[in-house]
């Protein structure tokens, strides 16, 4: 399958869904008139435009002649369609950092982040990841908490 085709299709679908959702949410906002716009006026117009463009993209992606005219790329199968490992590794690490930072302090939270984010690489080397985690934790606490005075607790307790 040509990349161009499903990229257009996917993007169109995404824009359509976001546009419709925005219309759905904004339908209760007072609309107003052109000379006295309510809070719903601009959002409804923008969301409708987005949904419309999405529709055009989806329809266009199904017209073969149109796709052929545009640049085409061969899908050589080397790159995954969706890099699940990287997505879960990176975003998981970031989200858990967000959940823990207020409770355990920067020193521990950064170790957790590095250890979890390490899983997004295929060859997980435990020793290497742990060493990186400890080094980065020390560096960040030193640099941000003591060096730049970023108001974040370094440890879950006070010395």
């Amino acid at each position: 399958m040509k990349i161009r085709m499903w990229a257009d299709f996917g993007a169109g679908l995404l824009f359509f869904v976001i546009g419709c959702a925005a219309i759905f949410i904004a339908q209760d906002y007072p609309f107003g008139t052109a000379s006295r716009m309510g809070p719903g006026y601009v959002p409804i117009w923008l969301a409708s435009a987005l949904a419309l463009i999405g529709t055009v993209l989806v329809v266009r992606s199904m017209i073969p002649t149109f796709v052929a005219r545009e640049e085409t790329e061969a899908d050589n199968g080397a790159t995954p369609i969706f890099a699940f490992r990287a997505v879960f590794g990176v975003l998981g690490a970031v989200l858990i950092f967000a959940l823990t930072i207020d409770h355990v302090g920067l020193a521990v939270a950064s170790i957790i982040l590095v250890v979890i984010s390490g899983t997004s690489v295929r060859d997980y080397n435990v020793r290497e990841v742990v060493i990186t985690a400890i080094c980065l934790s020390v560096l960040c606490v030193g640099l941000f908490v003591y060096g730049l005075g970023v108001p974040v607790a370094a440890f879950p307790f006070r010395f």
């Binding site: 809070p39 266009r60 640049e71 975003l91 967000a98």
Partner: protein, 499 residues
């Protein structure tokens, strides 16, 4: 001479020990992070904005400007040595720069990039000092209709300059505008798209959005779709240029600087266009066009100067109109607002120390870059040889701490991760993210000016066209849209971005 008086005022602001330190630190840290593969200036600036919060406004902006051109310069280094352009404006540099590196002439490529950038930076600084004040004066007379039309023009330029499908770029701008409306409506106090969450009532944080799309999204893309890359690090030996190199380069540098200074002013991202045009121009007028793509020094000298000049003059629309011309300038607006400075034509008269200080600092910063980069190139090279699997946790951690320290609110990190996912999806769907960010920063002001303009015009949009300047802006926008859709221009544009 008023110009020299003003520049003198600027220099007196920069040449205080404190501000010199901030300028130097900005350039150094910007280069340090910009050198890291896969991190462009936007992600670098987003990451480092929180560090500048505690500084006074002039120091903060001086440091951020330093970070910006440091990152820009660092990106060129990566483009030359690893063929991995950190952002679109160094794509062109990578073509011949990487070939030079493969031939063992990485040193010469880096040196000419530094010299070209410095020359371009100097000229562009003067250009800003010359053109910004009259432009700001003109902008003071703008009403809501003019502002609305100008913003539309800026967004259309961003669409035209985006890679790939125009339709997708339009959609990204519209989506950005919608995202910009999240939060409390200024006129009615109505909560829009907040899902009853208090932290959303102030709107989404631009740093969190930029960090997600440009930082986290890029990291995921790099990890998931890593390409083989070879670092031509060991081959950086002599930084000296031969007499022949200089003879071949000085004209491209001057031409590139002129092109870059002009195109950089365009709202919508002139730096990319400038470096590309400079490359095409040099290739066209060169006696040996076949040498291009195989390591022609002109192909590094011209575009590098153009890109740096464009990067500097892109401050003009920011400082005089309050309109960002690229994602980094959008972030600058965010930083200025946090500092209590409203970007726009009043900046020059209300905060002259800040305005002239920032401009003078650009020149000082460019000197620092040359002094800093040429001797330190060995360190940057070593940084490039660190495997990505060890590097990315550090980048990730810095991103998280940066976003968190915005408001000491962990929810900002959650927002960033949502936009990280979005950024990666956009990457896979071949939607460029820069128009989204420009739309995002302009969403709320665009709505505000639109409302006011139509209120004054009794709801009749024709009145936007009665005001001459507003009509010119809108006509230019429409003209550009039509031009880009014409088959002839369309093919040229697609070919241009493929090179």
């Amino acid at each position: 001479m008023e110009l020299f008086q003003s520049l003198g005022l600027g220099l007196s602001v920069v040449l205080t020990p404190m501000n010199l330190v901030y300028c130097f630190t900005g350039a150094l840290v910007g280069t340090l992070i910009g050198v890291l593969p896969g991190l462009g200036p936007a992600a670098t600036v987003a990451m480092l904005i929180p560090i500048t919060f505690t500084l006074p406004p002039d120091s903060a902006l001086i440091m951020l400007a330093g970070i910006y051109y440091g990152a820009q310069y660092g990106g060129s280094t990566t483009a030359i040595l690893v063929n991995l352009p950190g952002e679109s404006s160094s794509i062109v540099t990578a073509i011949d720069g990487y070939q030079m590196a493969r031939q063992g002439r990485a040193g010469a490529a880096l040196a000419i990039a530094a010299i070209g950038s410095f020359f371009a930076g100097t000229v562009a600084t003067l250009a800003i000092a010359l053109f910004a004040p009259p432009l700001a004066e003109m902008a003071l007379k703008f009403g809501p209709a003019e502002y609305f039309s100008l913003m539309v023009l800026g967004l259309v330029t961003a669409i035209v300059l985006a890679h790939g499908s125009i339709l997708k770029a339009v959609a990204m701008v519209v989506l950005g505008l919608l995202l910009g409306l999240v939060g409390t409506d200024v006129n009615s106090g109505y909560q829009r798209f907040t899902f009853d969450m208090i932290f959303l009532s102030d709107g989404l944080s631009i740093v969190a959005v930029a960090m997600g799309v440009f930082g986290l999204g890029e990291i995921i893309a790099n990890l998931g779709h890593s390409k083989e890359r070879a670092v031509y690090a060991s081959k950086v030996k002599g930084l000296w240029l031969s007499r022949n190199d200089i003879k071949r380069s000085w004209k491209p540098i001057i031409r590139g600087t002129a092109l870059g200074s002009l195109l950089g002013i365009l709202p919508g991202g002139g730096a990319v266009l400038a470096s590309f045009y400079s490359y095409t121009l040099e290739k066209k007028i060169s006696g040996t066009p076949e040498a291009f793509g195989k390591g022609a020094i002109e192909g590094v000298a011209g575009p590098e100067s153009a890109n740096n000049a464009g990067a500097q003059t892109s401050f003009i629309p920011l400082l005089t109109l309050g309109i960002p011309s690229n994602p980094v300038m959008a972030l600058m607006i965010g930083a200025m607002m946090i500092q209590g400075v409203t970007p726009g034509p009043e900046v020059i008269s209300k905060w002259p120390e800040l305005f002239w200080g920032v401009i003078a600092s650009m020149w000082i910063g460019n000197i620092m870059l040359v002094i800093l980069n040429l001797p330190l190139i060995g360190i940057w090279v070593r940084l490039l040889t660190i495997p990505y699997r060890l590097l990315f946790p550090a980048i990730l951690l810095f991103c998280c701490i940066g976003v968190y320290s915005l408001n000491n609110n962990a929810m900002d990190i959650v927002v960033a991760s949502v936009f990280g996912l979005m950024g990666y999806i956009f990457f896979r769907l071949k939607c460029e993210a820069a128009p989204l960010l420009l739309g995002f920063i302009l969403g709320s002001p665009l709505e505000e000016y639109f409302r006011r303009a139509l209120l004054l015009a009794d709801g009749n949009p024709i009145n936007l066209l009665v005001r001459p300047l507003s009509a010119v802006f809108l006509a230019t926008a429409v003209g550009m849209m039509i031009l880009v859709l014409l088959p002839l221009f369309r093919n040229a544009r697609e070919k241009a971005f493929q090179e």
